[in-house]
Symmetry: C2
Subunit: 320 residues, 2 copies
C-alpha cells in the first residue's frame, strides 16, 4: 500500500468537521484554516517514541488516545479550546491491523477531545508518533506559567500519581483487577482538563499541565514567575486504587514525582480561590488546594512535621 | 544535558522575532500567536527519517536546511507567506557537535526562509526530524491543487532533476567539481519558491510543489481538478550541470520523475500566461511553459515524435 492509499483509507475519514474553520483539510500541500476574530492561535507539538515513551507491545488504539491526550492537555493548560490536529507518523511497515486500530483510537480520541485531523505526513522508519494540536483562546486571556504571586494558593485537578501506578502495573505485568484496570486506564487514557482550563482562565494567575511530575513541573511556574513554592504532601489528592496498589507512602512519592498525570496545576489569589469554591457544583473535576506560593526561591515540601527544600532552579527531581 | 538545558542552549535563541505575532514563543506549554485580520492560517507538517530520507553521514547543518526548505515549499505552493516553525526532534543521544551544527543550520535557514521557531519537543530515539510550518494567506486567495481547466498552460519554476542528480553524486561518492557541487547544493538546500507563489496567486488556476517528481505530483493537480495533462519533454528546463553530469537522456528522465526539486508546478489560462510574461523582468526565478491541461483523463508525455500515456489515477510513476 502506498502513502496515498494509506492516508485515504485510514486518515481522510477523520477530517471530521467542515464547520470549524477548516477551509481545506487533508489532501492539498497545506491545510487552510479560518480563525474567528478576537482570538489567538495556541499550538503545541509532542512526540512519542517506541522504547522511550511506550513499550513495544502497547496497543495501537491506546497509543492514539495517549498521544492526543498528552497534546490536548497542553491546550488545557493555556485555557484554550481544542480545534485542529496534524499528525506525523513514522511506521516501520504498513501493518494494516496496527493502522486500523490506531485509526479507530484516533477517531474516538478526536471526538472525545474535540479536535479535527487536518493534515499529516506518513514516513517509513522506527515507530515514532508526533502530534501538533492547535487551539483558540480569547485574545490576551491565555493562561501562562508566569504570573504566580507570593500568597497565591496552589491547586491541582483530579488525583496524582495514578499514571505512574498504571505504568508499574504494566512493567510488573500485574494481573488484572479493578484497581489495576483503573490505573492502566489512567496511564493510557489521559483526561486533559480542558473544561477546567476554560473555567479558571478568569481566575488563575498561572497554570501548567503535569507531564513531568508535580515537583518537576511546578518549578516551571516558580522559575517563570520568580517565586517559591510550599507544598503540603498530606494534602495531595491520591486515588484509593493507587493507595491500595502500592501503599500510602509510595503513592505519595508518585504523586510528587511520577509523570504524565496530565492534570492541571494552577495558582490563584485567596479572593479568587473563594470565588472558585463557590462554583464547586459546576467544577468538571475535583480541585484540591495543596500549598501556596512564597517569596523565597525554594521548593519546599512538608512531610508530616518536617520540611524538605530544594532550589527552584534545580532541574533534577527533588527526591534525587 | 537534560531537555531544558538543551532547548535553552540550542533552540531558544532561534525564537527570532517578537514582532511577527508571537505573543508567547518557546518556554510555556504552548506558543500563543496573533493572526492579522483578513488572513487564513496555512499549515503543513513534514518528517525526515535517517535511513529513509537521508544517509547516516548527512551533515546536520544541511539537514536543517533541507527540513525547513521542504516544509516552506508547501507554503510556497499555497501562495502563502511563511511565519512560524515548530520542531519535533528525536535524537539517539545528546551529541553537542551535531546539535550545534544543526542549530546553526536552523538559524541560517530560518532567516533565509523567514520563519521563527516558536516551539518544539525533544525526545530520545532513532534520529527523526519533524517540522511544522505555519504561514498566512489573504483570505480566499490560497492556491490549491484543484482549479486547473482544459486549455490551461502548465508551467514550472527553475530547473528539474537537479536534486536527484545531487543524490546520485552522494550515492556514487563522486569527487567534487563545480557541477557536483552545484547538484549537491540543489539536493541539500531547497529553494522554496515563496516569492513566485506570492506573485502567481492572482494568476494561477492550480499549483503544487514538486516533491515526488513532476509526473507523480502533476497527477494530483489532474486528479483534484478532474482534467488530463500533456507535457512536452523537450521543453523541460534542465540545468547544464545536470546534463553534463549524467547526459541529456538521463537528465530528462530525472526531470520527469526525480523527486525533491521543490520547484513549483502551476497552471493558468492563456490570458493570464500572457500577463505573467509581461512581468518577466520581475520574476524571482525563470518560469517555463512545459505543456497544457486537457479534457482527457490521461497524463501524456511527448518524447520527440512519440506520445506515451498513462491514466491520471495511476499511483505509480509513469516510467514504471
Amino acid at each position: 500500500m502506498d502513502e496515498f492509499s494509506l492516508i485515504q483509507r485510514y486518515f481522510t475519514p477523520l477530517g471530521l468537521t467542515k464547520d470549524r474553520g477548516v477551509v481545506e483539510g487533508i489532501g492539498d500541500d497545506c491545510a487552510v484554516l479560518d480563525l474567528p476574530q478576537g482570538h489567538q492561535l495556541v499550538v503545541s507539538i509532542d512526540t512519542l517514541v517506541q522504547g522511550t515513551h511506550f513499550l513495544s507491545d502497547a496497543p495501537a488504539y491506546d497509543l492514539a488516545w495517549r498521544l492526543l491526550g498528552a497534546s490536548v492537555s497542553d491546550l488545557a493548560a493555556m485555557g484554550a479550546e481544542p480545534r485542529w490536529l496534524t499528525l506525523a507518523l513514522t511506521l516501520p511497515s504498513v501493518d494494516e491491523v496496527w493502522l486500523s486500530h490506531f485509526s479507530e483510537g484516533l477517531r474516538a480520541a478526536s471526538l472525545a477531545y474535540n479536535v479535527s485531523l487536518i493534515g499529516g505526513d506518513t514516513t517509513r522508519g522506527p515507530l515514532t508518533l508526533t502530534a501538533q494540536v492547535h487551539g483558540l483562546v480569547e485574545a490576551g486571556r491565555g493562561l501562562l506559567r508566569k504570573g504566580a504571586k507570593a500568597g497565591d494558593i496552589i491547586c491541582v485537578t483530579g488525583t496524582l500519581g495514578d499514571s505512574r501506578g498504571g505504568l508499574e502495573t504494566l512493567l510488573k505485568s500485574a494481573s488484572d483487577n479493578e484497581d489495576v484496570s483503573y490505573l492502566r486506564q489512567r496511564f493510557y487514557r489521559p483526561t486533559p482538563r480542558v473544561s477546567t482550563g476554560r473555567l479558571i482562565r478568569g481566575f488563575a494567575s498561572a497554570c501548567i499541565d503535569l507531564s513531568d511530575g508535580l515537583l518537576g513541573d511546578i518549578r516551571h511556574i516558580a522559575a517563570a514567575s520568580g517565586v517559591g513554592v510550599q507544598i503540603d504532601s498530606a494534602r495531595l489528592p491520591i486515588s484509593t486504587p493507587l493507595k491500595r496498589y502500592v501503599g500510602e507512602e509510595q503513592a505519595r512519592q508518585w504523586a510528587l514525582s511520577g509523570g504524565e498525570d496530565f492534570e492541571l496545576c494552577f495558582t490563584l489569589d485567596q479572593t479568587h480561590w473563594e470565588a472558585l469554591q463557590q462554583q464547586r457544583p459546576d467544577w468538571p473535576v475535583e480541585i484540591t488546594a495543596i500549598g501556596q506560593i512564597t517569596s523565597s526561591n525554594e521548593v519546599q515540601v512538608r512531610f508530616d512535621d518536617t520540611w524538605q527544600a530544594s532550589n527552584v532552579q534545580g532541574f533534577n527531581h527533588f527526591t534525587e
